[in-house]
Symmetry: C3
Subunit: 208 residues, 3 copies
């Protein structure tokens, strides 16, 4: 992200940090040891981006080669372990930063895919996977159904951001406008869904 | 698949559709929301092929870049949600198309791997993974042991198809003969296994 | 591994065999059929290396293209099924060979990554993933939380071996010295952890 505005870089790390906290906290509650906590923090923070990079041939994946992500994940693990009262206090901020990370990862994932010359479908799908892949990995490793697939509008917000970026680019908008439109639409949808408990419908058979 | 016979293309989409129905229906029964249903449908239909393409360096994976698969998965999701009575009626046809998809994916996975110049072992293993990888992903995301690994002869049928294609090519058979032999042997083995409830042996300790 | 000392090759196969036994035995206990047993044996033995090779662009992954691994996994499956009393007798040797495999995979994973020109962080992370990735896949497929993340010092031993290799190479040590130092430190840490039941701390909330 070096060529981008410093603000993007800060948002990127803030989102990574929020994702890592969610992984570390879930691992701690499940009783994993200190190493398992760090692995889950890293998996949530970097898993989606690593899947994207493998699919677009960006080898080695940035999540493995850029030390900012690893350090952020380790810092989030240490804070989760040592400062539990803070993490509980942070609950609202973490949800906020998680929404920030979701929107940013969706947008940056779509942009990176487009920048390597792939088509719109690949960009939209991989933008979404960048944003939600880490959370899905977390839940798979904790042997539970990914909440991403049953929770309030979450992956859908990532999809919106990735789609806005992809079609904005397609229609020739300026780079900054594309970025802002994608990021804000995704972020706003996620915050509204949290605030008003928006749910997508499910269709499970009712038990008689 | 554009260079192949139109019939292959139809079988490919029919298999994709059957795989997607199995993912969508499993997700619906588990209570996932509409988005989770679409994700599972897509994962079953395209997951195996994406793993294969990543392993042979066919970047980006066809499952992500070819809109036919995405549209088929979305159509299967919509049908699963809106036409439940039809899906229940379709139960037998879905099993039939699933066997069709299994055989076709095993054969096309092995052919694609060979066409990129890799050795026989890679072709056989990736042909099988193309066919069963999506179903394994589905069960992992639903936090259960993959039925593929305990069910009536299933992955074995995929293995047979991939092996026939690989050795047929090795022995210099004509392309169409290889395709037909691999497809028919795999499809027949799967149908026979369903019909006669063939099971491979398991070796679990008996509870005293 | 052809250019290496024959001893390395033997250790590599012994580690692969021990890993495969652990997969086959876990699958057997869970009641998977003979095919599922072979799949789990192969996944544990080769899964970590396949993830590493995909991340560094070593296509196709050695685990898929080198028949030694497949044959070793199949042999381990057959022994697990037919020679149960032997596997129970082998319990201590298997733990020993598993530690051998863990140390060797961590070292060889880090070396392979460095040999392709990637940075130290990538080498350390992928060295560790080579060693523990297969075990994590096994537990994901058996729908349980990876023991690797909660067990006695295990992934940490892999991390140590990968780190010693990476920094030894960085500091310009001779190739054999790097190999031995990484291997012995990792192997010794794992054996000590088994012997003395070393655990990393966990931080689960106490139930009142």
């Amino acid at each position: 992200m070096n060529q981008l505005h410093p603000l993007y870089f800060f948002i990127d790390l803030a989102g990574t940090f929020a994702f890592a906290i969610s992984g570390a906290e879930a691992a701690r509650q499940k009783g994993l040891d200190i190493f398992g906590i760090a692995v889950l923090a890293f998996a949530v923070a970097c898993g989606g981006g690593i899947i994207r990079d493998v699919c677009i041939g960006a080898i080695p994946p940035a999540g493995l080669s850029d030390w900012h992500y690893l350090v952020t994940a380790i810092a989030a693990s240490i804070i989760t372990i040592t400062l539990q009262p803070l993490v509980k206090l942070l609950n609202r901020p973490v949800i906020f930063f998680d929404a920030l990370g979701l929107a940013l990862f969706a947008v940056s994932g779509a942009r990176k895919t487009l920048s390597m010359g792939y088509n719109n479908e690949v960009a939209i799908l991989l933008g979404m996977i960048t944003a939600v892949g880490g959370g899905i990995l977390r839940d798979i490793m904790l042997a539970r159904v990914p909440v991403v697939l049953e929770k309030e509008v979450y992956a859908s917000a990532a999809l919106l951001g990735a789609a806005v970026v992809t079609f904005g680019t397609w229609w020739g908008w300026a780079g900054d406008a594309v970025f802002l439109a994608g990021f804000l639409s995704s972020f706003a949808l996620r915050l509204l869904a949290i605030q008003f408990h928006w749910q997508l419908p499910a269709f499970k058979d009712r038990k008689g």
